[in-house]
Amino acid sequence: MVTMNSSEKAQKACQQGPSRDTTKSTKDDKDKKDKDTMIANLPPSVQALMSTIPSPEESPNYLVYKKMEAIIEKMQDETTGVPVRTVKSFMTKIPSVFTGSDLVSWLSRHLSLEESWESLHLAHLLAAHGYLFPIDDHCLTVRNDNTYYRFQTPYFWPSNQWEPENTDYAVYLCKRTMQNKARLELADYEAESLARLQKMFSRKWEFIFMQAEAQSKVDKKRDKLERKVLDSQERAFWDVHRPMPGCVNTTEMDPKKLSRINAIKAKRLRQCQELILQHNLKNNPIVTITNAQESEEAIQKNIEKNNESSIKENGETSQTQPETIEVEKTIEQQIEAAKRQLSVLKARMERRNVRVSKVAEMFISYCEQYSEYDAFLTPPEWPNPWISDTTELWDQEKQCKEPLPLRRVRRWSFGLRELLRDPPGREHFAKFLSKEFSGENLKFWLAVQELKALPIRRVSSRAKEIWKEFFAAEAPSPVNIDAASRELTRTKVESGTADRYCFDQAQAHVYHLMKSDSYSRYLRSEMYKDYLNGSKKKTSVKGIRSIVSFTGRKETSAN
């Protein structure tokens, strides 16, 4: 028998199907009554909190299910619905079925669907969600012919927010194996699932077996025809929640969303339970918690705080905290959060913002400058590797042989960042700087970049090395930076707690120097111009070739 979580029981409307729950209906009723009286005894504010437990309305497909159910109910109407009857065949009677063609024709008539495939598609969707099913097949599709179908009982409708567990499935499969073999053997995938579940639940298999036995005993007592109907409905239920491989699974949800919904449910439930327990302990009529209106953020922070504090108290639950302190904490947290937000906004107000028009211009110029390098806009120098079946594109980029393509060398003139990003660019720049005897700036900059990527334990020793190399009194490669940054860096390094960002200010200063001074001279230098021309000369032949192949490619793509 499939069971529902106790929390959801409190929310269920009486959607009783046929008397399936004879074994546990009495227990259910008692539970429900207990819960009801318990709820009624609680103060209204707690009741309000309990109502924050998500009701069926919040399940993702609720509206869709309601629409489908409206159609189904019309279909089940005695006079104007789909004709359901008991069919006699060979030696048995098939109770309460209707044919596929009946269903499809009813749909096109009553919903005034014009195209023939529309009603078939709609019927198929109703089946896929589990509202009707073919009586002899596991695959939930509908065919427009004389095959027989049956309606699913409202107990099993998906709008009841079923989330059946693997244990329930195991009990069901076990029960199936106990039934008369001739009639209902397990399909291959069901046998596999059963084997898998047996392994999973090997420790409590006895318990599962007992439950299956109990259920099959109850079933045996039923009337044969009724039993057929109920069996087929239960089978259809499991076809929806544990579909046959190859069939659509309509109960799937993105796991990230699912985990979030579950987390929220769990939190709310815990909160509610805590409240109930506190209420029972303290018997304090004045409950000043009004969490029902608070933001998600506050609730989550509250729960986190509660968890943290309860962990600190060696596992004691938060019940031992008096309620008033809890309330104060909530307000405190809100104040803290508000203060944080305030400081961020204040910082924002102090910033100067650039106008959108200027920003747009910047984007336009960036796009135009780089459109040459965007493979989606301009074909790159080397042929597309998947079309031409060579890996030239990647191999050539890695190599730094002399005749570098013109595009690549030109890119170095876009900004210092581009120059430093490309390894051959760095080398060329280093050569230029060594000619000018100002190579230490670049070396320092590269050393600090390396420092930032080091693991923690080597940071402080390396920082000291860098200091000795570039800033100390008799440094081999002295770097010129202003006195303020120098002092700052010195205190940081010599304090012994050098972190990887201690040279940042100095590095920024050096970067600025390089950008304004050395870089601009580099771009105007003979070296760079020669390099450009050199690559131009050497790639001019390549350039022609690439134009030829470019048009060649155009022709093939036009075919």
Partner: protein
Amino acid sequence: MPKDDPETAALKKELNDIIAKAKAEQEKVADAKLAEKCGDMADVPKIRLITKKTLKGHINKVNSVHYSGDSRHCVTGSLDGKLIIWDTWSGNKVQVIPLRSAWVMSVAFAPSGNFVACGGMDNMCTVYDVNNRDATGSAKMVRELAGYEGFLSSCRFLDDTHILTGSGDMKICVWDLEVGKREVEFDAHAGDVVTISLAPDMKTYVTGSVDKTCKLWDVRAEKEKQTFFGHEADVNSVCYHPSGQAFATASEDKTARLFDIRSDQQLGHYTPPGASGFTSCGLSVSGRYLLAGSDDNTVHSWDTLKVAHTGTLNGHENRVTSISLAPSGIALASCSWDQGVRVWG
């Protein structure tokens, strides 16, 4: 709300005032619309990417894909519990790494190509060394970073020794991989941190979260530099503009947007012809094309400047969960619930 004591009341008033002022500032700066300004630019051609390679091998939904720094290899993680490193040119599987937990939500490739990281519902981030194998012949597990209170939703390598992660417990952590210890950990958002994107200069990064905001962070600091509002539902993915001055976002509210950092506001608003949520986004090298993978089994593309839809890439048979652009811009990899990974070029 409980009775406001004067302090709370004063704070609230101050907060509301400053929010109003910030909004007013934003409007002052918004003196032009992006599409109008770029009105006289040449129209960009409709995107002509076709599937160059279909990478077959996963036997369950593929959740995440990330390109390596060499623009040739990519790693994909799937719910069948495997990480596969592909050579996108030949379609060969360079390595298949079996995972301890099948619920992988996010993968990352180090730019150097030496490490891959993955994580998901196991609340851990696991880092593997691509170049070394262990006793069983699969890639050596270098680190198992545990201690999250929520699932690992995104991770990105800062370099070979540092990894930045965002998780379902709303925190961001930076780990030192040599020691396996957390360097920094702080509360970042009011909801799960779902996505991270590093700036080209690696000094800053942007995160997106289910609390509908995106925040800009400095790698060195624990407080955010800027917050961007505008989305109406979860932000599923963010991607930096190659200039480092803006970023694109894709969200569950069926839009993709372009936010600019310097003017601190939303510049572009991109909607598809149909209506389905977006799961991931990417920008091309020049920043002209914005591509976003969507729930309707296609990848949509827009001209970012003219705010116009330039086409869709069809081919997947189920929702596209993640896309990744090669750093050199030569290709785009997309993965989907139909168990396939496609390389578009």
